[in-house]
Amino acid sequence: MKRRTLLQSIAAIAALLPLDRVRVFAQSRELTPAAVAMLHEIAPTVLPSSIGAARIRETADKFVAWTRGYREGVALTHGYGHPRLEKSGASPVPGYVRQLAALDAEARAKGGRWAALDRESQRALLDAAFTQAGVKALPPRPAGQHVVADLMAFYFRSSEANDHAYSAMINREVCRPIAITTRKPAPLG
């Protein structure tokens, strides 16, 4: 097939697609640079400062990588005790981008960037955003309701955070010799 013929065919097929579907195709499944920047700005507010600035940045980067790895329409866990099939929903990324943009706009409306707001103003903005998104508790894992709650879940539900909370090297869900589990976990470095 000649290149021009191919392009004509693609254009003809595209013309037949409903507009809303075209819009879905057009939505990015990657966080925008502005969204990533905003995520990095918010991360020190919601992740514990005791893990250090570098680890906070690294956690936010891993969360961004998590969003890239998300797959739509995949069967979710339905092992023993799960008699019905559920599939993963649409990518949370478009929603995340909107939510981060909204937080940025609200911060600017209060007179500056997120990082410049006092803690209670940050809390008030997040509280309202979570309420609007229907977030009532820390999700068991990122669930697509609100990007900041998901970032928090991404860290606080991790094996690393469990160790940090207990100040001990438990290494939950980390492959390790069974003999190690028979001893009291060593104190965290």
């Binding site: 069967a75 866990t77 339905h78 092992g79 023993y80 939950r172 028979t182």
Partner: protein, 524 residues
């Protein structure tokens, strides 16, 4: 129409099928065995680490494509349909029943007796444990004596379980490490355990037994043929005799073409749901109520056990996450004195983080952020939560049924099953006393270690379901004999869970396998 001829046709590809095929190949080397399974083979063990990671990060199912969307039932507890069956993602618990399970009628005047002597079944338990490479420790109760030792010593107790054992035994009950089909060192082509702690979802090392390994080991030397993605829709009676002449199936890629299996012997190894379903679907002019159903009992006496659970808070310090899928078990209440009100149950203890997990809001509703959230979490890590559970012996009525639901059909137009569990009168009449007893045991456990019960709940379904083709000596009161041979058709067997008259009071898989190994000797 493609026709496959063989000696033995096994319908279903779960754990009982794997164990049966393995044993038949030993008993009759060279015998033709075809295993027909509706679901697909998932033999990519090399990918299981990646599947596990995605399950943890994204909640994706770690057994891709292990289901048929239109082949589901009301009342089931798992929709898995693949080579390996539900044992692809079982926890690996391998508890034995006790003699009382087989003698409910003669000892207590309840339910029915099984047509097997305990001493005989006990031998097959030993064989099942050897094949599954169960790790365990001898029970302290004389009634649990064994003729063979466990093939492996117990899974070493985590530090947490050592703490919880010391706590729980202050109550006067004795607890042991839960026996599990989990390799401590490499065995059977599978690696040793390295505590991925996702036994119930997927085990990347293969330490927790799953039947796909057995099937692969049988396929390599061509001891069996495996036809996956092939759904058996009907068994066909011989035109002249009351024997099964063929099984008619359909392959997923060729939905319009009937595949015929002709065999000397047919074995239904399709679990508690699909075994009865196939017999009922196979109704015809000579058997209008389904095959093997002259008693009218196919799909009846569906059973399992109820469960009650609790969370206790105790002062001793544990560190949740050490080995969450292992537990302690007490068999103290497996036996009930005949002169006391009947109650039987196991008692299990797990580490837990219930009530001690990170939370988004403080009790006053304040949103917690960053270091505040961590501080709140840390303030709740002192002491321990303990998960308690009891599987309770309950007995089915004849109305505890699997029926064909004409309102729900698969792509071929076959009605799908509907399971509704019902208890017999005696079970219903003692329900309140049973609940009071179990909650009393939980309270006693908690109190012994300065603990408090903080919540209790009851399951709203029966766990480890079984039944539907119950075994017995009387053809009018059972579907098959003690070997699973159907009373109506001499070359048709049912094996494993469906044959159990009652569901016991602890995990059933080891018993399904032991019964199947016993059946193998009659089938061979």
């Amino acid at each position: 129409m493609p026709v496959h001829e063989t000696d033995i046709c096994i319908i279903g590809g779960g754990i009982t099928s794997a164990m049966l095929a393995e044993r038949l190949a030993e008993l009759r080397p060279g015998v033709g065995i075809v295993v027909v399974e509706a679901g697909r083979s998932i033999f990519d063990a090399q990918n299981r680490g990646r599947y596990r990671d995605r399950a943890i990060q994204y909640d994706e199912h770690p057994w891709p494509g292990d289901y048929l969307e239109d082949q589901t039932a009301d009342g089931i507890i798992s929709m898995t349909m693949a080579v390996g069956g539900l044992a692809l993602h079982w926890g690996g618990a391998c508890n034995r029943f006790s003699e009382e399970d087989l003698r409910l009628k003669s000892m207590y005047g309840l339910a029915t007796d099984w047509p097997i002597e305990w001493r005989e079944l006990e031998r097959y338990y030993g064989d099942a444990e050897r094949r599954l490479n169960v790790s365990g420790e001898p029970s302290p109760h004389p009634g649990d004596r064994r003729s063979t030792p466990y093939p492996q010593g117990p899974i070493p107790l985590s530090y947490n379980l050592q703490i919880l054992k010391a706590w729980a035994e202050q109550s006067g009950l004795s607890f042991s490490a839960l026996p599990m089909a989990r390799n401590l060192t490499p065995f059977g082509g599978r690696d040793g355990c390295c505590v991925y702690d996702t036994c119930g979802e997927v085990c990347p090392s293969g330490a927790r037994y799953s039947p796909d390994y057995t099937f692969r080991q049988l396929l390599t030397p061509k001891k069996i043929a495996l036809h996956d993605r092939t759904l058996v829709r009907r068994l066909v009676l011989d035109e002249k005799r009351p024997t099964i002449a063929a099984a008619h199936a359909v392959h997923q890629d060729r939905p319009g073409e009937v595949v015929e299996y002709r065999a000397k012997t047919f074995v239904i190894a399709s679990g508690y749901c699909w075994s009865s379903h196939l017999l009922l679907l196979s109704a015809g002019p000579r058997c209008p109520n389904g095959l093997a159903n002259s008693s009218g009992l196919v799909g009846r006496y569906m059973n399992g056990h109820r469960f009650m659970q609790a969370t206790a808070n105790i002062d001793d310090q544990t560190f949740p996450g050490q080995n969450m899928t292992h537990s302690l078990i007490s068999r103290e209440y497996f036996r009930c004195p005949a002169d006391r009100p009947f109650v039987r149950h196991d008692t299990r203890v797990w580490e837990s983080s219930a009530g001690r997990d990170p939370r988004l809001r403080a009790p006053d509703g304040t949103l917690l952020m960053g270091e505040e959230l961590l501080a709140d979490w840390r303030s709740r890590t002192r002491g321990s939560s303990v998960r308690l559970r009891a599987y309770v012996d309950v007995h089915p009525s004849a109305d505890s049924r699997l029926t064909l639901d004409a309102s729900k059909k698969n792509r071929y137009g076959d009605p799908m099953p509907k399971i509704e569990h019902r208890f017999d009168e005696a079970t219903l009449s003692r329900a309140a006393a049973t609940k009071a007893h179990v909650l009393g045991v939980f309270a006693t456990l908690a109190k012994a270690g300065n603990g408090r019960i903080v919540n209790t709940s009851e399951g709203d379904y029966l766990d480890h379901p079984a039944g539907g083709c119950r075994m017995g000596a009387d053809p009018a009161a059972s579907v098959c004999d003690s070997h699973g041979r159907t009373h109506d058709h001499e070359n048709l067997f049912v094996v494993g869970a469906p044959t159990m008259p009652t569901g016991g009071c602890t995990n059933g898989t080891l018993t399904f396998v032991a019964l199947t190994l016993r059946s193998a000797e009659a089938i061979a």
